[in-house]
Symmetry: C2
Subunit: 467 residues, 2 copies
Amino acid sequence: MQFLNTINFTVPLLANATATEPVDSSMVVAAVLLSLVVIYFASKLGGELSNKIGLPPVLGELVGGVLVGTSVLHLLVFPEGGTDSSNSLIMTFLQITAGLTPEATPQVFAAQSEVISVLAELGVIILLFEIGLESNLKDLMEVGIQAFVVAVVGVVVPFAAGTAGLMIIFGISAVPAIFAGAALTATSIGITSKVLSEIGRLNSKEGQIILGAAVIDDVLGIIVLAVVASLAKDGAVDVSNVIYLIVSATAFLIGAVILGNIFNKTFVAIADLLKTRGGVVIPAFIFAFIMAYIADVINLEAILGAFAAGLVLEETDKRKELQNQVLPIADMLVPVFFVAVGAKTDLGVLNPAIPTNREGLIMAIFLITVAIIGKVITGLAVFGQPGINRLAIGVGMIPRGEVGLVFAGVGAASGALSKPLGAAIIMMVILTTFLAPPLLRFVFPEPKTAATVDGATDPSLIGSNSK
Amino acid sequence: MQFLNTINFTVPLLANATATEPVDSSMVVAAVLLSLVVIYFASKLGGELSNKIGLPPVLGELVGGVLVGTSVLHLLVFPEGGTDSSNSLIMTFLQITAGLTPEATPQVFAAQSEVISVLAELGVIILLFEIGLESNLKDLMEVGIQAFVVAVVGVVVPFAAGTAGLMIIFGISAVPAIFAGAALTATSIGITSKVLSEIGRLNSKEGQIILGAAVIDDVLGIIVLAVVASLAKDGAVDVSNVIYLIVSATAFLIGAVILGNIFNKTFVAIADLLKTRGGVVIPAFIFAFIMAYIADVINLEAILGAFAAGLVLEETDKRKELQNQVLPIADMLVPVFFVAVGAKTDLGVLNPAIPTNREGLIMAIFLITVAIIGKVITGLAVFGQPGINRLAIGVGMIPRGEVGLVFAGVGAASGALSKPLGAAIIMMVILTTFLAPPLLRFVFPEPKTAATVDGATDPSLIGSNSK
């Protein structure tokens, strides 16, 4: 980017072309339509098969994503993985059927990837908004202390065990060991909450503790990542940045709750005033997107803002109406996220023919062991909840998902990680992500309502919305 | 673009950066979230006020778009208008609140514009899919001949009168006069169908004739545009291209109807088989997006494919269920389209302080007169329908909307149009677009159900969906 900017100065015409040259928009729309067809096909095929064998549909969506993505079919690929447009089968298909020229292909590919990535991001934002709408702030607060303890144990134990183990057993130096340890701390709210929702356990006590702990873990993870990244860059911790993150995260969460109590009534009053279409869902999205924006710009994650917005609106009389309307929107956008996560997963790291993978394999086995045990024991830290399913809580914290991939990505970019260790971390992320949904399904013995968002559907609507 | 490609060859590193350098994705997401907040705010403010004074909400959404767009507030601007990122208030806001660097701004601006443009395009695709779901193929076929006559009259009369008038009265040479005449032939399906839906007249006989004629007009317009563009480029008509367009358009429409009869049953069987969430809406979108893709790549418009898909699925038992689920999705995406159309409208052409505008003004008055009269008289061409509201049909064909803007854009790019004539065409497009919704509202005297899509809402859902 820096390089590009220097050039911009000396070649203004090119600079203009780079930044604002409009790509053939009809071709970009065609590429996005094709991508969505591929995504929906993969999500339905995977989701239905997964459901059929009694596993959460989201596992199938992830696997469907792997199938169409960079590991297998190369239909849906993204430039982040270093793939260029010539590896995208969708681009090849457009060249054959729509007369896309090879010269225009890189730009159309870049635009399509950008659009699909943002749609995926909107998908997980809407998912967390929906999860917030289905959760209850009071219930969450009631288990708040337990959730906090679970989150802290789930950060400290895997981090300490992972870092120490890598240094002592494998003789790895401090900075890369700390990075790998940090990657072990993540928990994917998206995958965990989606599975809980699919097996009808989101509103169980265990579900609320997992959800609360995953949210707190996400905040802790952002702080850990900031610490580790500054350590890898300067060899020292940027204390002011860490304090800023802690203060802003706390202020945001407390602010959301206080603001929520005020905004509650305003929202209902506004929604009652509006007479045209979208009079409930549009004000709700304005609120959710503003909260997501704020969370994003104070270096938290956008999904935390959307979750807080959902929690606030759950308190209002409009909850049921809003849930019914968000449901199909989530059905449309959420699969884009899970399929994209799968599509970006490069199973190449599991290929034993590649030397760095073989070297990484034994480290991967160690990391995976720590990753699973380090989270499962968090259930033991829950106190004052007799008869609670401690194993389920621990298992719920296992999936690293997209959060783990962020850690791996930052680590690889910083140059702190050796290739084998980088491969080992990605193996750990893949395995914990894909193992967690079936494990969660089995530690919660009797599913209540599979494949339906618990509490989201009005009884009169089950026929139309639950499928 | 051509220039860019030459450079790519000699500076491979830069070429790579241009095509695949990943932009700061968290910043792009923040920019898109802000844009959506602005869009939703503009659409609700405009739509509600418009509704309050008894006009179709979509007029308010367009005006709201103008307010936040390139003409007034510069919140939502697009590179197409030659605007660069320094004119985007959203970018300025991101620089202040989110620490967006000036160097990264052009790329984030380009990505944000690309994403919002595609969301707008998805919005109008979903709108036409929804309109198709609410229309009945048999009803449309019944008035097919009348719709065809209305479309042909509405193309021939404005084209002939406009071209001849400009040549005879204003002494303009043939090619620019033909271009201006061609711009007069357009009809915006999006605006017309949305207004009809909002005033509850989509399924009236008049509504069906207007809708059918607007669809046929769209196909005719694409052919006219191809003829005129090749005329402006080479001075000769590319006959083979015109034949290709006519054959492919006809084949597509007939194919859609035949295929529809077969796919009908397959769709219901598939939807019944699916047990996970989105089991109706996702297969429907797969079908709609494939149809839109096909229409797009055979040089028709994507919206025609989506409309055909909606018409096909309207025939199935799943219609009601599908309509209920598409409704909130449309509520989320359709406003992006109308606000974007408004935001891209540059009211600068109406400014009399600019000399070319003054010169264009008298031509604009002529063009607007031809534009309105040339479409209003199409109602007279309707035969065999005693007691039909001929005025309403003619008025329904008036709005040029986004289709007119495409003509103006191609004309300006070809260099065939003088500045005053270009300004005059844009004035004509703006006035017909913004006049049509109130006019349509008044020529249909008693509104049945304002602000509700006719027939789309299950009675049990009116409370939740109609607002």
